[in-house]
């Protein structure tokens, strides 16, 4: 029998704010000692009063807008009650009945090139929990992360494969990075995913029993865990069993899903409105203010690149994948470079260097104007394509402007027929067999002869001029 996979995703995104959600403690929690960024509010001292961080509300609303959600002018924080030491208060402040954003949608681009719209049920705001380290018969608790603003984005059950789930998570990551809402860094836990997975016979309308899989903390985990869990459920059904509604965790090392004990995650959170906080009421002006901060979103920007710069859809997608890259690309164009050539250099030489050095484009010394100048030198015929690669390497490794590097290294392309003629004559004399074949109308050895001239001129000859000279002399 064939089965259909049904998936809903919950993605938690740590917001990129200065301070925590309800107190003034710094929100960053990496590479500092345990419990250095804590205070009476985020360690739940009696009488401490939380105050809402407006930037966290704004970033959540902006994300909701980018996902086409309706923004609630009135929303409420609620207490989600459960007892676990990573939660100092015995409850997590979250949103339940009245989330900030609802009823949106996002278009994903799957690896086979197709597009699909995924419905967003809600985007709400909550606080992150602390971190636990288990050691011997004790657990050690660090509250640096407790109270960091955490946005949760929930889809409906319209995702149909691990590939779509993967594309969805990529899209969310791209959007939150464009908005400056989060680093989206999965390795550092700034984005954490859970999938609700079920299978049903193809053509069936009823949903199968869903299993919640947590700990999908890398792109690879998203794909592997869903593939694994779908296969597991199909096997259970094929063997005549029934899938039980449980919570599983993805074990990266063992590459399996493992059931989490229900005792620790008793599914009865007894939500009620948080009495320590005011309701979140925002005016139309406030909402307009958040909307005015929205940047041009990646899909719109890609469409504009195709329209205004005549880029191919693939090039446009590559140039808009990351906002900083897209900005950099547009600066190269503004400095006068031909767009398709600029896209080629960025996705080729520049991306390769960035990958090798694990650098971000914002941090490189090479400037957009320098790349535009380099491209200008190629277009003007001053240097050949291969010389340009050498110039790029020097700019990257040692710095300096392209014109100056070309002059210092004598890389100017020789286009002057007079200068090249003696070299061409020498090659024709030395390679008499090949030259005869070309004389008799066989074009194949022409490339070989050109290669010999290029070698003799150490790559500086203008290939077009060399080819023309060879043709004039042998076939003219």
């Amino acid at each position: 029998m064939n089965y259909e996979t049904v998936i809903g995703m919950e993605v938690h995104v740590e917001l990129h704010t200065q301070s925590k959600m309800f107190c003034r403690c710094p929100a960053h929690h990496f590479q500092i000692g345990a419990n250095e960024h804590v205070c009476p509010v985020c360690t739940a001292q009696p009488g401490a009063l939380p105050v809402i961080n407006g930037r966290a509300i704004e970033l959540t609303v902006m994300t909701g807008m980018a996902l086409g959600c309706q923004i609630r002018p009135h929303s409420v924080f609620a207490r989600k009650n459960y007892v676990y030491p990573d939660l100092p208060k015995g409850y997590q402040v979250s949103q339940y009945e009245l989330p900030l954003c609802e009823h949106g949608q996002v278009v994903i681009h799957t690896s086979d090139g197709s597009r699909k719209q995924i419905a967003i049920e809600r985007v709400h705001l909550e606080e992150d929990t602390g971190k636990l380290v288990h050691q011997g018969n004790a657990s050690l608790v660090d509250y640096n992360r407790a109270g960091v603003p955490l946005m949760e984005i929930v889809t409906d059950a319209s995702i149909r494969s691990a590939d779509e789930a993967f594309a969805y998570v990529q899209k969310i990551r791209q959007l939150v990075r464009y908005l400056g809402a989060s680093t989206g860094d999965m390795e550092k836990g700034a984005m954490r995913c859970e999938a609700n997975i079920s299978v049903r016979p193809e053509g069936s309308q009823a949903f199968g029993t869903k299993v919640e899989v947590k700990n999908l903390n890398s792109f690879r985990a998203v794909r592997n865990a869903i593939d694994y869990e779908v296969q597991r459920q199909i096997e259970v059904i094929e063997e005549g069993g029934t899938v039980r509604q449980v919570t599983m965790g993805w074990d990266e090392g063992a590459a399996t899903t493992k059931e989490q004990r229900s005792k620790e995650f008793a599914d009865d959170y007894r939500y009620f409105p948080e009495p320590d906080l005011l309701d979140v009421d925002v005016t139309d002006e406030w909402i307009d203010g958040a909307r005015s901060q929205l940047p041009e979103l990646p899909d719109e920007r890609a469409a504009r690149f195709v329209e205004s710069f005549r880029l191919s859809a693939d090039d446009a997608a590559m140039m808009t994948e990351d906002r900083a890259v897209a900005d950099w690309f547009e600066q190269v164009i503004a400095a006068g470079a031909e767009p398709a050539t600029a896209a080629n250099w960025i996705s080729g030489e520049l991306f390769r260097r960035l990958k090798d050095t694990e650098a971000a484009i914002e941090d490189v010394a090479l400037t957009p104007a320098q790349l535009a100048e380099l491209i200008g030198l190629i277009t003007a015929g001053t240097i050949s394509g291969s010389a340009a690669k050498e110039v790029f390497a020097v700019m990257w490794d040692e710095g300096g402007g392209p014109t100056q590097i070309v002059e210092a290294r004598g890389l100017q392309q020789v286009s002057d027929t007079g200068e090249l003629e003696s070299q061409v004559d020498a090659v024709i004399a030395a390679q008499a067999d090949a030259a005869d074949k070309v004389r008799n109308g066989d074009d194949k050895p022409l490339q070989f002869l050109m290669g010999m001239v290029m070698r003799a001129t150490r790559g500086k000859a203008n290939p077009q001029v060399v080819q023309q000279l060879l043709r004039d002399k042998l076939q003219g």
Binding site: T17, Q18, S19, K20, R24, C25, P26, A27, G33, A34, N35, E36, H37, V38, C39, P40, T43, Q45, V51, I52, N53, G54, R55, A56, I57, V76, N81, Y82, V83, Y84, P85, G90, L132, V133, H134, G136, N137, A138, S139, L140, V141, D142, Y143, E264, A266, D268, R270, P273, E274, P275, L277, L278, D279, D281, V282, T283, W286
Partner: protein, 95 residues
């Protein structure tokens, strides 16, 4: 509305409270009486009144996103009954 002893046991389990049989009976009675008292509110006619989580209407009043390290850190951490290397230490919570 009244509370049963099963309700009390369930809520106690969720809150990780270990109650004696006597305490269970006592709390069943006390919680029932609190709910009866609150039922007085049902006598009010609230037709046409929208639910409210808070009595103060304030729109768009939030804290600016500025951070500072809490100045009383040592004092705060010193209140923990058990600590190690800056961490709070609690009985192991997973196997």
């Amino acid at each position: 509305m009244s509370v049963t002893v099963e309700d009390v046991r369930r809520v106690a389990a969720l809150a990780r409270l270990d109650l004696s049989p006597d305490e269970e009976i006592q709390l069943t009675d006390e919680l029932s009486r609190i709910l009866q008292y609150m039922e007085k509110l049902n006598e009010l006619d609230t037709d046409g009144v929208s639910p409210s989580a808070h009595p103060i209407p304030v729109a768009g009043r939030f804290r600016a996103d500025e951070s500072e390290i809490f100045s009383g850190l040592d004092e705060l951490l010193a209140q923990a009954p058990d600590r190690r290397d800056g961490y709070f230490r609690v009985p192991r919570v997973i196997d």
